[in-house]
Symmetry: C2
Subunit: 182 residues, 2 copies
């Protein structure tokens, strides 16, 4: 099974794809979409969306796991993060992939065994579980791999499936809107 | 000049397109993308994005004006609104349209003459300025038309242009990301 993990962020969106038989995992690709500080915010969104769409089309994973977020420093950073996460989810849904969401605490608990683990501990477990010599960098990439590993190890996958059947029929055209033409 | 206004929201995204010579405006189309309460959140994002893309391709406006937001009730609603606004901006940027953003206060000040105007006052001014018999419904549609009218009447358009030159070259492929393949 191929799992594609995403850790969305407005400055850097991490991604990681792994192949697994359920207990042994193999890293296929990981990285982060880093946007230029000179780019406008809409340009950043475009880059995140285009890159994820390209990678998903290249990898054709069996499912996509995305970090879920309920918390942000303030309303302003929540708005920014929401924009980035929105275009990341869109890339997955457009591709028709079953989509799963996990909170940061679930990811840490599943990967490290402790819901309040430090970033470094998560990175180290990702390194060990994937049999790598070094922790993948930047940390957004290893965070995305942690989401993917969380999905594989989670026994409650079904509870987190937010779009499976629906995603498969994603290419149907939208039906529900109200419109007025004079 | 054809201006396409968007008022993004996670439950309902308003849109409105008008034709103008700078002082007289004519309504072309307006409406709102309303998502089913049964739809998953990613499905809602897909519907918003697909509908706006289709409408923009249909209308080919000279520019797109979107309501800017800095405020939300709380972090949770900011995150939700951010997702919807993210896919709305993406639709505009993908189409390569010059993109302008206006805050709710700027829109009210420009359309009604008072930055803290009530929703009903905005609707009534939209009705008058477009020479309509009734205020367009739902209110998200007339709010979107207010953003478009704000853009036309704003003498500071340039200051609000967030993506013009960049948008025109939007179809270039993304260049900036870091990737690791074992």
């Amino acid at each position: 099974m191929k799992v594609f993990g995403i850790d969305p962020g407005s400055e850097r969106t991490g991604y990681g794809c792994l192949d697994t038989d359920g207990s042994r995992h193999r890293l296929i690709v990981c990285g982060a979409v880093s946007t230029s500080p000179r780019a406008s915010f809409p340009e950043k969104l475009l880059l995140i969306h285009q890159t994820l769409r390209r990678l998903l089309a290249e990898q054709r994973p069996d499912c996509v796991a995305v970090e879920d977020v309920f918390y942000a420093k303030n309303v302003r950073s929540a708005l920014k993060l929401g924009h980035a996460r929105g275009v990341a989810l869109l890339a997955a849904v457009e591709g028709g992939y079953p989509l799963y969401e996990y909170t940061p605490a679930e990811i840490k608990r599943t990967v490290v065994g402790y819901g309040r683990a430090e970033k470094a501990q998560v990175g180290e477990m990702v390194r060990l579980l994937l049999g790598l010599d070094e922790v993948p960098t930047p940390h957004d990439a290893s965070d995305a791999l942690a989401v993917a590993i969380c999905h594989v190890h989670s026994t409650h996958g079904d509870a987190h499936e937010v779009m499976a059947a629906a995603a498969r029929s994603a290419r149907r055209s939208p039906k529900s809107w109200r419109e007025y033409r004079p």
